[in-house]
Amino acid sequence: MEVNSLTAMAILVLASYIFFYLPASRLRGVLVLIMLGIIGYALVATVAEMPTFGASANPPHNEVYQRYLHQAVEDTGAINAIAAIITDYRAFDTLGEVTVLFTAIAAALSNLKAH
């Protein structure tokens, strides 16, 4: 399936413009459907081209994957490879994640208390 995603992208950009300026109406509904249809077509065309689902030769199963499985126990001492990743290999992400939770608390509390 040939697809020019750039048209889809341009329409996505224009779409958001229209959504926020057109009042809710039937016309807006139709326009939204048409635009989402085009975006959906582009995405479906991408799905048809993606690496096969579940194949062990897919690009993500590369040396990084091998290292995480074969050396995680030796590197981190954790049997659960996911725990090894979130708290050791990529612990900075987890710090960010904890911070997101804290930000949500701070944001929600400040908003609830301010009014």
Binding site: V73, G77, A78, T94, F102, A104
Partner: protein
């Protein structure tokens, strides 16, 4: 809601839920789960308590001061543990190379800083869940009472 049955069952269940949550937190490096899942379970137990009884009873169990302290404490612990590695001459958040004892893989007290991180995350997530719940409920309650 004033339902005796719900309250009795809740009193029975909540300790087990919390125990299970603690189990999931502390066994994060050995089995599926970890700080996030376990923290969510512990937080859910507090929410269950507040739902079965009422908000005041819930906040008496976990006062605002303590939950504020736990919020910050979990995250601060995480960062300080990262700095410990730095003081030991390694990069931020280093585990093995900084000399945290890894122990025997498969034991409960193994994997160095990961165990500590899981516990810190568990604290943080659990307290966040119930703080958010209480405050959202209080926010909408205050409105209802003012009407």
């Amino acid at each position: 809601m004033e339902d005796l049955l719900v309250r009795i069952i809740c009193r029975l269940v909540v300790p087990f839920v919390q125990l299970y949550g603690l189990y999931v937190i502390t066994h994060g490096h050995l089995s599926p789960g970890g700080g996030f899942a376990g923290g969510a379970i512990v937080g859910a137990s507090m929410i269950l308590f507040a739902l079965a009884f009422n908000l005041e009873a819930g906040s008496r169990k976990l006062s605002h001061d303590i939950s504020l302290l736990m919020e910050s404490g979990g995250a601060i612990g995480f960062i300080l543990a990262g700095f410990v590695a730095m003081l030991l001459g390694q990069n931020f958040l280093t585990n093995k190379a900084a000399g945290f004892p890894l122990g025997v893989p498969g034991n409960l007290f193994s994997s160095g800083a990961i165990f500590f991180f899981s516990v810190a995350i568990g604290f943080k997530v659990g307290s966040t869940m119930c703080t958010l719940f209480y405050n959202l409920i209080e926010g909408s309650d205050r409105h209802r009472s003012s009407e």
